[in-house]
């Protein structure tokens, strides 16, 4: 990356793997689990969070010297809420079906702990450009997990990816279905999201032993 200095690139790269907001920092789990039954919903959710976190981090970072620390939580909430309203209105206008699927979870981006966590931990102490990169990086790390979970749940649960029947047609018994493969409807139910995330954490921590917890 030519434009970015090594340190700036680290701001984007770290949260993707070694300091992933979901699997390591344990932030923003709620939405990660609830909307990942379809890959498309996961991708849209990731894009919304990238937008809100990137822009929100910049706004908070610009205001960091004029916010009295006692009321900073309310100021932060108002900034996020405004950005989320924009996302919600855009979704309702251009992807109405999808906004129905996401239902209240678009609104819940406001209380997504990743957003408040990054505001508190980073944007309040750093300049706008760095905060922007940090926001994008963390949102990408969040999106990565969402897309992985969404990918497996949609593939194993309904045999499709983004709505395309990649495993053949279950009714006409083509592709994999001709040799007796069945969709695992259980993958579409909410508990499986938890188990899939648990397995991702397992894989990640067995590869990187430094992340293993003591207790």
């Amino acid at each position: 990356m030519g434009i970015l200095s090594k340190k700036d690139a680290g701001l984007i790269k770290d949260p993707l793997f070694d300091n992933n907001p979901i699997t390591i920092q344990v932030l923003g789990i709620c939405s990660a689990l609830a909307i990942t039954a379809e890959l498309k919903a996961s991708i849209v959710m990731s894009i919304s969070v990238i937008f809100v976190l990137g822009l929100g981090n910049v706004v908070i970072s610009l205001m960091r010297n004029i916010i009295p620390s006692k009321i900073r939580i309310i100021v932060q909430l108002i900034v996020v809420a405004t950005l989320v309203i924009i996302v919600d209105l855009v979704l309702k206008a251009f992807a109405y079906e999808l906004s129905k699927t996401l239902s209240v979870f678009v609104g819940l981006i406001i209380t997504n702990c990743i957003i408040m966590g990054r505001f508190e931990a980073f944007a309040l102490g750093n300049g706008p450009w760095k905060s922007f990169l940090d926001g994008i990086g963390n949102a990408l790390g969040y999106g990565l997990i969402l897309v992985i979970v969404g990918f497996f749940r949609e593939l194993l649960g309904s045999g499709t990816l983004l709505g395309f029947k990649v495993l053949g047609d279950p009714i006409e018994k083509t592709g994999l279905y001709s040799i007796g493969y069945e969709n695992n409807g259980f993958m579409l139910l909410s508990p499986m999201a938890l188990i899939v995330v648990g397995i991702i954490i397992w894989v990640q921590r067995s590869k990187n032993k430094t992340l293993i917890e003591e207790a």
């Binding site: 909307i35 989320v84 699927t101 279950p170 579409l188 508990p191 938890l194 648990g198």
Partner: protein
């Protein structure tokens, strides 16, 4: 009767943690010890009981389409529902602050046990989620909104209490090193959520009939019989929206 139904429905069937994954962050972070989890759970019940009815009033008399008609004829067509996120979160943040001040003044002992958790609650998705579900499920009366708030709070309390008890015991088990801590908690929560799904068939009557294929067996049967991916989508939506 509808109060009882909504009460049990919001505790077991639409359990905040197991059915809709709300408040997962604090659920995972504060469930290491039973004693702290009780404090957090109590605070959540308390704040939900206050904010859900309050936001119901806000929704009914200010935000909904035509809600402003009490101001006069010319306001009857206003629709301010796009403001609901910002209004709800502002109400919650102020209420949490207010509750903190009041509790500190009148019951220092309660303040000491809840104190640390109250500020955390403003950003707990269970609280905002409670209000947003209240809005999207169109709960009809003030009384039902109170019931819904209390019920969802108790559901969250039960969930965090259960996982905290399990995590205290699991320290004595030989969990694979890479799964220790967070990983195993996720998987246990998943198993508990499967258990809670069996409550899905508990209430029958009224609008529950539509949701019957919610139980896992019925779902798998449907899928085997028809094998259409349309069903899968309906199922996914049912579990997501949980209306």
């Amino acid at each position: 009767m509808e109060h009882v139904e909504l009460f049990f429905k919001s505790i077991f069937i639409d359990n905040m943690v197991f059915a809709t994954f709300l408040g997962m962050c604090s659920y995972l972070a504060i469930s290491k010890k039973v004693s702290t989890s009780v404090g957090m759970g109590a605070a959540v019940i308390f704040v939900l009981t206050v904010t859900v009815p309050l936001n119901w009033l806000l929704d009914q008399y200010i935000l909904q389409e035509g809600a402003l008609s009490w101001l006069g004829e010319e306001y009857a067509t206003y629709d301010l529902s796009f403001l609901s996120f910002i209004m709800f979160i502002a109400t919650i943040a102020t209420m949490v602050q207010l509750v903190e001040i009041i509790v500190e003044k009148f019951s220092p002992s309660l303040y000491n046990s809840l104190g640390i958790f109250l500020p955390l609650i403003a950003v707990n998705c269970a609280i905002l989620g409670g209000s947003l579900f209240m809005q999207s499920r169109e709960i009809p009366t003030f009384g039902l909104a109170v019931t819904y708030g209390v019920g969802s709070g108790i559901g969250w309390f039960l969930a965090i209490l259960a996982i905290a008890a399990i995590r205290e015991k699991i320290r004595y088990s030989a969990v694979p090193p890479a799964l220790r801590g967070l990983g195993i908690t996720f998987i246990i929560t998943g198993l508990m959520a499967i258990g809670f799904m069996s409550f899905g068939g508990m209430l029958t009557g009224g609008d529950e009939k539509k949701e019957e294929p919610k139980t896992e067996e019925a779902k798998i049967e449907i899928k085997k019989e028809e094998g259409k991916e349309k069903d899968a989508k309906v199922v996914a939506q049912n579990t997501n929206i949980n209306k």
